[in-house]
Amino acid sequence: MDQKTRHVVIPSECLGDTGNSRAGRGTFIDHGKIYSEHLGILTQEGNILQVVPLKGRYNPIPGDFVIAIVLEAMQSSWLVDINAPYPAVLHVNEAPWEVEFGDTAKYLNTGDSLLARVLSVDESKKLQITLNDRNLYKIKGGNIIEVDPSIVPRIIGKKGSMIANIKKYSRCRIFVGQNGRIWIDGPVDGIELVLLAINKIESEAISYGLTDRVEGLLREHAKDVR
């Protein structure tokens, strides 16, 4: 594998044999051969071949931390958008308040944003989210931006190194949802710095050594560092 860039594969590209490798996420098997299923980056862990998508919709997995936007308040639940192909349901039992039947709009209404967790995904992809956990609540203030869900792991970095750097230099409060939505709150020049860093990550997502380059960029533009 090239040291500078990751190996980009396209759908139907042959990755290996089922004899010596195993098919992981983003791959399928046909006649004993493993093929890539979408445009992505090939990674190998042991003998498991995986393809991490470069583009595409957010695929919800139970336990994911997401930023949701309320679409509609219904009698005993809310319909929310979590950037997945399907809208998700937030039932009143999964909210931290005692809500009377039909009183849902008092607590959350169309356009409100939430920090939430994906509770369940069933076989027909019906989604449920929850607010019943630590650090899950309705968002007040700040800004939300959207990026491609596939670059979220790059924004967070190894053990959160990238996001820790961004927070350190920009003095902003940041939450990164697995669904590609990012909530930022802080001084205006700090937010500008965050956007600058995220743009750089977006355009160079497939390269190695990105954390160091982004730190260089942040240090160059930062006013004062805590």
Partner: protein, 241 residues
């Protein structure tokens, strides 16, 4: 105006040999509002394709609880042909939309997205014979660009018969005044046929030869498609080096 002969000294009107394709240019990711997009020039054809989704299919009754549905919409611009084309869907474009949808559906892993729909818009800006092949080829690149899981990248090419000779990729005069036109689409990895239509008359031998030539043409176009997809990510490497 019908030309007297379509083949002169073994060369076609535009100077091509019987198995030469027209010039093809493909660019992926050209539209910002769509999830995936492609611009394709194939001879005188100019085609845009945009992909949206997968997203929840509406109205609800068209949803399939087991898989996603694929909605392709082929549309020709009013200015794409010599006489102004009356805008809106007509018998021909409804048919082409249907056959393209079915060809694409075979390649997309639709079972991963129950109840959803994948919408493909194909806009023909300039037409010069073979727009359904150009449209399907562009739609395939746009689907890959949108990150939609696929088992293969479909590709289309036509063959036909002009002046009694079987040739590949008919041009405008050849299509209008030739004896037969055979557009096909294949899945290049498996060789599966996704679309096969025929207009005109061919003997069994001619059909077999035309089919083989069209498959060969598809393979050439497929290489261009793959290059166009990879091109988007090469620019990133250059920036870093």
């Amino acid at each position: 105006m019908k030309p007297e002969k379509l083949i002169v000294d073994g060369r076609r009107l535009d100077g091509r040999g019987p198995s030469d394709l027209r010039k093809i240019k493909i660019e992926a990711g050209v539209l910002h509002r769509a999830d995936g997009s492609c611009y394709l020039e194939w001879g005188g054809n100019k085609v845009f394709a945009a992909v949206y989704g997968p997203r929840e299919a509406v109205p609800r009754h068209i949803q399939n609880p087991l898989r996603a549905i694929v909605n392709a919409r082929y549309n020709m611009a009013a200015f794409s042909v010599e006489d102004r084309k009356r805008p809106g869907p007509d018998r021909r474009s409804v048919e082409i939309s249907k056959v393209i949808s079915e060809a694409l559906q075979r390649c997309i892993l639709t079972e991963q997205f129950p109840r959803a729909s994948v919408d493909v818009c194909i806009e023909v800006l300039d037409a010069e014979a073979g727009t359904r092949c150009a449209g399907l080829t562009a739609a395939a690149v746009a689907l890959v660009d949108a990150g939609i899981p696929m088992r293969d990248i479909p590709v289309a090419c036509a063959a036909g018969k002009i002046d009694g000779q079987v040739v590949v990729d008919l041009g405008k005069e050849e299509d209008n005044f030739g004896q037969a036109d055979l557009p096909i689409a294949i899945a290049p990895r498996t060789g599966e046929v996704l679309l096969l239509q025929m207009d005109g008359h061919l003997t069994v031998e001619e059909f077999n030869r035309a089919f083989d030539m069209a498959v060969e043409g598809c393979c050439k176009v497929s290489e261009i498609q793959k290059k166009a997809i990879m091109q988007r990510y090469h620019t990133v490497d250059e920036v870093i080096e």
